[in-house]
Structure formats: C-alpha cells, structure tokens
C-alpha cells in the first residue's frame, strides 16, 4: 500500500473562527476513507482543501508525495461528487458525463470515438443508458446522483472525492446508492474520500474512518477500531449508542479491576485497563448493546438498580432509556429476546460484562475548551 494523498497539519481560518485546526492524515491508494463528523466539524472544508476549492491557511496537501496545496483545481487528478449533484443544467445527461472528456479533445488526448464508447460504458455502469438524452431536471434525485457519479468516474481519476453525496436523497434511495458505491469502489479500485455526517454510512462503507469534531481529527481507524476502541469520550458518544461514565479506578491486587462511580456504584472493567493506577480518575465506555437489563425481582445485590424511563421499539431489538435510582445517572441499553419484553416504568438491574467495560485512553480525554 502506498500513500496517495497526505494532509499535513491542515488549517483553515475564516475570519476569527478556525474551521479546521491541525488536521493530518494519510490516505492509502485504493482505500475508501470517510471523514465523519457533525456539521461544523470541518470535514467538508478538509475535503475542499484536498480538492483545491479552498486554500489552506496553513499546512500542506500532498498528492503522491508532491505538494499540491495551491495547485489549480483543474490541474488536480481528482474528481468530486457534490451534495447537490452540481450537474450542468444546460447540458444533457450524455453531455454532462462527456464534459470532462471533451475538454481533453482540445488538448489532443482523446478522440471522439473514444469519448462515445467511454461515456456509453459509464452510463451503463450507473444504469442510465436509456436516459442519455434527457436534461438533468427530468431525472429523479437518485438518477442525478448517478449522472454525477458517472461524470466523475468517466475521466478515470485515481481519487474520487464525495461531499455528502447521498445527503439530499431519501432514506431508501440512500441505501441503494450505498450498495452501489461499495460495488463501484470494489470494481474500480480507486481511492474514495467520502465526507458524511451519517455514522452508519461511514462505518458501513469505509475501510477507515476519520472522526472530526470542532475542526480537529479525533481518531482515524478502521470501523472496528472506532466502534470498539474509541480514542476518547467524544468518539464513543458520536458512534452508536454508548454510555460514557466518569469514575475512579479501584485497583486491589488479587481482585478484578474496578471503577467506582458516583453514589457508591461500582463496575468491573477488563478492557484497556493496563497501566491504570489505583485512585486515578477514568472515563469508561459501555456500549448500549452490552448494557444488560434484568427484571429486578427480589434481591439483586450485584448490579445497579434502575428504572425504565423510555422504551423505543427498534425491530429485532428494543432500546431502553434508564435512570439509576440512587444517583439519577442516565443510561441507555439495547436488548433483544426476553430482555426486550420489559415495559415502561419497570424496575431493572443493570449488568455489564467486564470485558465490555472499556477504559478510555487518558491522553485523548475530552478537551475542555470553549
């Protein structure tokens, strides 16, 4: 694997505010990398700096080791798929797709015959062969996005950039297009850099995910890393449903690692506990699906007692919002099977397998900054 694109300490300032601060990462050739974050996290600005649509205030963008930080947009070997599709409304579907290739005629790099066959081939790829002569406004949202995809891919760029490409599609069309993108990536073996605020989309499509918040890169890793080994509370909270709790490490030789929570509650933890000293303040994460709930009949000394304050039906599973009676602590649990039959207001005992109680790394503790 070789690095195709590298961002080095990218920074973008708009007036007083920093949209992106010191973001660095490397993208491998052929990789599907997602930039994931809420709106205002700096993910789109980062992508636009790679595309050349924004010039970084500081930092460098490298393409195959060459500095392209201030290279003109048109000279960069990458194509972008826009959220609003950005199709040329004065051109037909065919002309839209052929646009990038036709520019090369003037530069003597391609013949008309080649354009014809390539455009036809890519319209086939996105299943729009029958719509070649239509105008963009005659197409549905999903079809327009396919045109914009074909327009980007037809010039055979090594890198394709996506700026929330499915953001303006309805939920069903989005699912269809996700599969399509995954297939295209597998078949074409191009590098995809994909901006999205939808964590499921990012986790499902990508080889690696970069989580951004407030213009900073919080974590870059495989979906598995991000999900099970988040670098900090912010990532843990952002991805999936997780309980992130503050406590104090209770390390007694010969006994399992424990975390003392407020109100005398105690959880045992087993994940990532090496090197944590007794009495140290720690942040732990317990995913909602690893948070067990048992009906609290009779005596249950071992767990936390809580009450179900909300019950959401998710299909095969049920999501409970819980309130720990003793301290008012709020927890989320996702349960299935027998545990899914509890009702609103039921008293439950919360259980947690120590292997799933993860101590979050100290180094990247949540930033306290305005």
């Amino acid at each position: 694997m070789t690095t195709i694109i590298e961002a080095r300490q990218l920074q973008k300032r708009y007036g007083e505010s920093l949209a992106v601060r010191d973001v660095s990462f490397a993208v491998e050739e052929g990789e599907f990398l997602s930039l994931l974050g809420a709106s205002g996290s700096g993910k789109t600005t980062t992508l636009r700096m790679i595309a050349g649509l924004e010039i970084p205030t500081q930092g460098t963008v490298l393409f195959r080791g060459q500095d392209i930080t201030s290279a003109p947009v048109a000279k960069r070997d990458m194509r972008m798929v826009f959220q609003d599709f950005a199709l040329f409304p004065n051109l037909t579907v065919w002309e839209n797709v052929a646009f990038g290739l036709k520019l090369r005629i003037n530069r003597g790099r391609i013949t008309r015959e080649q354009i014809k066959s390539r455009v036809g081939q890519y319209l086939d790829t996105v299943q729009l062969s029958g719509h070649a002569d239509k105008m963009p406004h005659e197409l549905s949202g999903g079809q327009r996005q396919r045109v914009s995809l074909a327009r980007a891919l037809v010039t055979d760029p090594p890198v394709v950039l996506f700026d929330e490409p499915l953001g303006s599609l309805d939920a069903n069309m989005r699912k269809v297009m996700q599969l399509e993108l995954k297939r295209l990536h597998r078949e074409l073996r191009k590098t995809f850099i994909y901006v999205t605020h939808d964590q499921e989309e990012a986790m499902g499509l990508s080889d690696r995910v970069a989580v951004l918040e407030d213009g900073q890169l919080l974590q870059l890793g495989t979906p598995d890393d991000i999900y099970f080994r988040p670098s900090c509370a912010a990532v843990a909270r952002f991805i999936g449903a997780a309980n992130v709790l503050q406590g104090v490490a209770a390390v007694v030789p010969g006994r399992p690692f424990g975390v003392q929570l407020a109100g005398g509650l105690r959880l045992e933890a087993a994940d990532n506990v090496a090197g944590v000293a007794d009495g140290e303040a720690v942040t732990i994460m317990l995913r909602a699906e690893h948070t067990g709930v048992m009906p609290a009949d009779g005596d249950a000394a071992g767990g936390l007692r809580a009450q179900i304050t909300e019950r959401l039906f998710l299909g095969e599973k049920v999501r409970y919002e819980l309130k720990v009676a003793a301290t008012g602590l709020l927890l989320t649990a996702v349960a299935g099977g027998d545990q899914g039959r509890l009702g609103l207001g039921d008293e439950v005992v919360v259980t947690a397998d120590p292997r799933h109680v993860r101590v979050l790394p100290r180094a990247a503790a949540p930033r306290v900054e305005a």
């Binding site: 595309a51 649509l53 003109p72 947009v73 048109a74 960069r76 990458m78 194509r79 972008m80 826009f82 959220q83 609003d84 950005a86 199709l87 040329f88 409304p89 004065n90 646009f99 990038g100 520019l103 090369r104 105008m135 406004h137 914009s148 327009r151 980007a152 010039t155």
Partner: protein, 312 residues
C-alpha cells in the same frame, strides 16, 4: 357562491367577511370576494391609464387630418404611410439601430460587472457597495444625467478642455456631440444598470457548485465561462438587452439634448407630428407600429428565454 361571477367585477357594495347567505357559501367564497376587492384598484388603474389609451391610440390612427384638425374615420392609410413615406420608415430603422447599438454596448459593459458581482465579490459589504454604485445614478433625474453628457462632450466641455489643455488639439472637437455617437453613448450610460441587474439576477441563480464542478472536471476559467456560465446566463442577457433596446429605441430626451439633426429618433418625429404638424392620426399610427414591433420582440425574446432557461 352568493355573488354570481358576472357581478364580481363591478364595484358593488360587497362587504368582506359579511354574513354569508343560506346557500352555503363559506370561507372560500369570502376569500374570493376579498381578493376581488384587492383587485379593483389595479384593474381600474390598468383600464383608465392603459386599456383606454391603447383604444384611443388605435381610434386616432384610423382617422385623418383636414386643415390641422382631426377627422374621425376608418382607414389604414396612415399605417401604410409609416412604411412608405419618408422619413418615417428610415427614422424608425435608425431608431432601432441606435437601440440595438445601445443594447449591445450596455450588455458588453454590464456583463463583466454582473459577473464580478455574482462570482468574485465574496464579502457582503463589497457586494452591497457595488450594487449601490450601480443603482445610485438612478436616483438622479434622467434629464440631468443626459444634460451632464452635454457638458462633458460639448465644445466647451470637459473632454475638449482637457485635450486643449494638453495641446493635443488646437480647436474644440465637434465630432463628439450632436450626432448618433453622442446619443448612443448617453443611452448606454443611462440604461447599462438595467442590463447589469438583469444579468446579475440570472448569474446569481447559478449555484457555485456548478462552477466548481466545471473546474474540478478540468475546465479552465475560460472554458467554464464559455461552456457553462454564458449559456446559463443567456436568458438574463436577452431580457436585459430587450429592455435596453426598447427603452433606447423609443427614447426622446437623449436625441433632443445631445443628438443633432443626424440623430433624430422616432419619438422626436412623433412629438413634432403632435405638437407642430397636428397630425394626430400619423403620430398614433407610428405609435401602433412601435407598440406592435415591441410586442413582437418581447414575445420572441420570451419564447427564447423560456427555451434557454435551464432549470436548476
């Protein structure tokens, strides 16, 4: 409905929201009656100041003149004279030519300004400033602005004074005032803002992402301009050009103030027919022809605009 549609047009004592009859006319009927009341003033205005004058114009054009007095009649002879008798047709054509030059000149000047305003002015304050600079001259009376050109181009005007001072000429230039050139120059100055706003409004509709997509696909700025931006802005260009052409062709003040005998335009001819020759039927016939040509032009341009208007 308590009121029959036929009576709704008359200005009867219709009380909005009044007690509705027993025939079940509800909120919809009331809403419609209220709408009618709102429509009465503009309809009246349109009737009194536009419809009736058009009819009168047509009526006068059919009559004839005897001993400088109007005589009603029913003849198309005057309309025929517009096309056959000198100087009407040639003045009409000359006016159209001046109008066309004005429209072309105004478009050429307006396009770069509108383009900068739409794509290269990022700060809202700068945008507002340029916008104001474009509009502010309209606050001054047209007559004053046309007169200003007289003082710029005149024998004792600013240009001649400057050239004399620099010893580039020894006697004042007379070529720059009282001819078609000075009329076109003045008209371009007056009407360019129309073109700017018309083109700008169209350019503003073009999403930035389309321009970005074009350069992302490898197009140079020039290619983006010729292949995307100009085609997409054509409806605005066309609309601006038609307005400018129509206003310039029918202009009276510029030829009267800065135009010489060579730059007599159709409005000046009409004024003379009305005020000097008292040939009202002839004046009305010219009016009919001008209105007819104008309507035809606007229809054609609207058709073209509609066809060229890309849907975003």
């Amino acid at each position: 409905m308590s009121a029959a549609p036929g009576t709704a047009g008359s200005v009867g004592p219709v009380v909005p929201g009044g007690p509705s009859g027993a025939d079940g006319s509800g909120a919809a009927g009331r809403g419609r009656r209220q709408l009618m009341i709102w429509l009465v003033p503009p309809l009246l205005w349109f009737t009194v100041f536009m419809l009736i004058p058009y009819c009168m114009l047509f009526y006068y054009s059919l009559g004839s003149t005897e001993y400088m007095t109007f005589k009603p009649g029913f003849s198309l002879a005057n309309l025929g004279r517009v096309f056959c008798e000198e100087p009407y047709l040639s003045v009409l054509l000359k006016s159209a030519r001046i109008g066309a030059f004005t429209a072309i000149g105004a478009t050429i000047l307006a396009y770069p300004v509108a383009f900068c305003l739409a794509f290269h002015t990022r700060s809202a304050r700068a945008k507002l400033l340029i916008y104001l600079l474009v509009i502010v001259p309209w606050w001054a009376a047209y007559l004053v602005k046309a007169y200003a050109w007289k003082t710029i181009l005149g024998t004792n005007g600013i240009i001649n004074a400057l050239l004399l001072e620099l010893h580039l000429i020894h006697e004042p230039l007379t070529l720059i005032l009282y001819n078609q050139f000075s009329v076109i120059l003045t008209l371009i100055y007056i009407f360019t803002p129309f073109s700017i706003l018309s083109i700008y409004a169209q350019l503003e509709r073009i999403p930035t992402s389309i321009v970005e997509a074009s350069s992302n696909l490898g197009a140079t700025t020039f290619e983006t301009l010729t292949k995307i931006i100009i085609p997409l802005s054509l409806p605005g260009v066309l609309a601006g050009a038609i307005i400018t052409f129509a206003l310039a062709t029918g202009d009276f003040i510029a030829p009267a103030l800065v135009g010489g005998p060579d730059a007599v335009m159709i409005s000046n001819v009409v004024i003379n027919l009305l005020g000097v020759a008292f040939d009202w039927p002839m004046a009305a016939s010219i009016g009919i022809v001008v209105i007819g040509v104008g309507t035809a032009l606007i229809s054609v341009s609207q058709y073209l605009e509609h066809r060229a208007q890309a849907r975003f």
